[in-house]
Amino acid sequence: MYLGKVIGTVVASHKYAGLTGVKLLVVEPLDHHQKPAGDAHVAVDATFQAGPNDLVTLVGSREAALALPETFVPVDAAIVGIVDQVHVERARR
């Protein structure tokens, strides 16, 4: 599970049946300093409320499919939260 930023949207009218009505967003993984930390990829929006520039939490692999109402879908990244705040303790040692 990781932090990410929504940087775009994807519209795919022709896609796997189970994914109709599911919002597809382009996300860029972030580290705990909110700096880019990985390649941009496409995730389904399991909160149905995320939009561009939102800071979000995501889950990957099989658990991403479990985030959707219809769980038997080919999904490996899902937005499961819209972040209000990130608290990081000052780096100790």
């Binding site: 599970m1 990781y2 932090l3 580290d31 705990h32 930390a37 399991a46 909160t47 409320q49 939490t57 889950v59 990957g60 692999s61 099989r62 658990e63 991403a64 479990l66 985030a67 769980t71 038997f72 899902a78 499961v80 939260g81 819209i82 972040v83 209000d84 705040q85 990130v86 608290h87 990081v88 303790e89 100790r92």
Partner: protein, 94 residues
Amino acid sequence: MKLCRVLGNVVATVKHASYHGHKLMIVQPVDEAQREVGASFLAVDLVQAGAGDLVLVMQEGNGVRQVLKAPEGKDAKIPIRSVVIGIVDAVSTS
């Protein structure tokens, strides 16, 4: 499981139902000498860990569903993959 240092936490009011009532921690994997290895990630806290704690994190969905007592089969709808399952008191390497 991974040894991790808790760096802090993430607050999200809008989230998937399975995350309600749980703290979402930011954890940094460390090696046996507590040197940082790899990227930080998020894990649901099940043991009241706090920032700065050294913890044990499990990253496997099936185990999470068992720990969170998910119903079996197709209605085991818990999209959580990483959980903090222990607060470490000591690590000794002979």
